[in-house]
């Protein structure tokens, strides 16, 4: 795993680094530290990373600028900040976790484990940030009907029948999105509040009909679980 720490306090950056090395062990492939917003942004633009650990107050500058930039990227972000009052807003923007300072190794470990777990915390993500022509837009999660995986990126299908591209993978998004988003197929994540019925077609093909009329395939292995849970 390739990790970037953006932290302006030398001692704290070192501490985080030490802990991550201990938590991830051999899984860690690369770890970098930037001590300012600008350096952090430059680094992200020129390097590919899997996880960002971000402080929200950097040399008096507000790390939210960076946060809003990075949540549209493919990697996960964990906020490490003294400002615990800002946790709710950070979660709304789709961060993986919010670790308040001062923190212990256990707490940091728990945050990192979330990458692997599916739905551990109740999710509060309200917006998904996307980049369009270099500009950042926020998509309200409530406006998403379903999400289709398309290789290294995803397509967000919205209620107004528009389609937006997101840089995160279906797996990464699933961790961030609220519980009512269900994986019905290896390539589909659906807002189950919009599900109308399951249609069984000849040849034991299953599909899900949405209230809006969209018809999406259901994975053979997922049919039973889906039916028990939602119908």
């Amino acid at each position: 795993m390739n990790i970037l720490i953006v932290e302006d306090e030398g001692r704290i950056a070192k501490r985080t680094e030490r802990m991550i090395r201990s938590i991830l062990g051999d899984e860690l492939t690369k770890l970098s530290i930037c001590d300012s917003l600008k350096l952090g942004l430059d680094f992200i633009n020129n390097n590919s990373i899997d996880l960002l650990l971000l402080d929200l107050n950097l040399n008096g500058e507000d790390g939210y600028q960076l946060l809003e930039e990075v949540v549209s990227e493919s990697f996960h972000t964990i906020v490490v900040s003294a400002h615990k009052d800002r946790a709710i807003r950070a979660f709304e923007y789709g961060v993986l976790d919010f670790v308040g300072k001062p923190y212990t190794e256990e707490r940091l470990s728990k945050a990192i484990q979330r990458i692997y777990s599916k739905k551990s915390l109740q999710q509060k993500t309200k917006y998904l940030a996307i980049k369009k022509k270099g500009k950042r837009h926020l998509i309200n999660v409530a406006h998403i009907k379903y999400i289709k995986g398309a290789g290294i990126y995803t397509e967000l299908h919205l209620v107004n029948n528009l389609k937006e591209i997101h840089s995160k993978t279906l797996d990464n998004l699933l961790v961030l999105l609220p519980d009512y988003f269900e994986r019905i197929h290896k390539s589909y994540l659906v807002d189950m509040n919009r599900a109308k019925e399951i249609i069984i077609e000849p040849g034991s093909k299953y599909s899900l009909l949405l209230k809006e009329g969209d018809r999406l395939p259901i994975g053979r292995t997922r049919y039973k679980e889906l039916k028990e849970k939602w119908f």
């Binding site: 302006d8 030398g10 001692r11």
Partner: protein, 539 residues
Amino acid sequence: MSKLNQGDDINWAKPSFDDQTWEVYFRPKGKNLFWERMPVMIPDEQTYHSDNVIMIGTAANYDAYFDGEFIGNNTGLKEGSLSNKAGTYQTNFLIPDHLNTVGEHLLALRFHRILADDNFHSFAIIGNHASMLRTPIQISKFMFLFAGMYLIMGVYCLLMFLGNHKDRISLLFASICLLYFSLIMMEYLKLFYEYPYTFQSTRLNIIAYLNMSVAFLVPVFFTFQFSFPRPKIFAVVLLAIILGLNLEQFEIDYDDLARYHNAIMWIGSGIVVGYASITKQKKSWIVLGGLLLAIAIMLWLPQFRFPFVSSFDISLFVSFAVLILTMLFAYSLKRKEERQAYENSLLHSEKLKNELLKKNIRPHFIMNTLTSMMDWVEESPKEGVKFIGSLANEFEVLNKIADHKLVPIGQEIQLCKSHLDVMGYRKEVKYIWEEEGIDLNEIIPPAIIHTAVENGVSHSIPNKRGEVKFKLIFEKEKKYKIYRLEVHANNREKNTGTIAEGTGTKYIKSRLKESYGDAWDLTSNASPFGWETKIKIML
């Protein structure tokens, strides 16, 4: 028509005497005797009274004859006595029963002036004895009511001023109230004090001067009340106009003089309050309304006639009462504003104190410090203990200075040093502190250099040796003293182009304003060695 003649002859008292050759426009010369013959009417049957009196007012000693019969004099001596003591100005005489008949009668006055000035005049009024005494009081009682009101307000405002010598508007209002009080007392003195006629012109002069002072002070009061451009020049011009008129005082009738003074007062006040209304100053339209009402009363009342007192005087005093109430409204408004400003300043100081105390318990500071501290304790406990010591130091100094608006520079430097110690442990940067020319007797608002140091820590990249140097330099000149904080380091490039003034700079400015008003200057900019913050305080 009343007629006068120089000379002395007891036959001139007789109604039958032919005074055709006598003069209507007569000016008495020197101290020689002269006579006046004045036809007077006892009104018709309906208004006839059995106890009629004649009131005579004049600026001379005299013997009075009614239809040729001696009825008395204003010196209290025997008929024909020449006294060197001035007689009363206004005196009532009973009309003998056998002469008290409806129709025309003749009043003859034998004058003897002991004070020969130009101010000779005379009048006589006939009326029922009781009502002659009662009626003037009936009307003037309202004036005394006003006078009492002015006296109390004047004394109250004077006490306010004595309690706070900077409170000039109270002094001004007190003066105006007390002047109006004096004006009414002087005007209606005639009703209860039988003064000698020589005092009459003194009294009128006093009234003229009181009127003149009021005419000057009322518009000036409004310039204090509202913001008005160049109030001093306005006051000087006003005074010049008033004094210019006053030089001519003795050529002009006293009532005319009062009219002039009043006109100046109303016009002057109108200009100031009008300006305030046009520029939409707070509640100025209410004051303008009061002013216009007062002017309307002054113009409207004289058309009514009041027995025994001049309706001009009444109109003046009633309009003054409205004016004073208007001013009282304005004054109370000003007081309220001042009280609010004072309360705000208290609140502001409290806020600054709060901000100072909050500095080190803000989550960014305390949580980062604690995180670093955990790390130090875990990794090298000995250093960790020193770190805790540094933090304790910073808290201790902060606690010491928090309650004061100004603190010794030594304490401020101690605060900066302990802060740099703490930051050194956190950032793992070597912060160096140097000072030059510091005078330990100087005092300074708390934590302002500390705040500049905080900014320096945030915005500096250490050199290759991992150092950032802070240097505080103090210089004192004749007109100002200056603190320069140099940060020797590379400046951190900002991610965003321009950012709004930080809370730190705001804090420094608020503190400087709290202690020095506007007599300071704060600059903060990049310099060849890094960053420089200059705090200049005028002396």
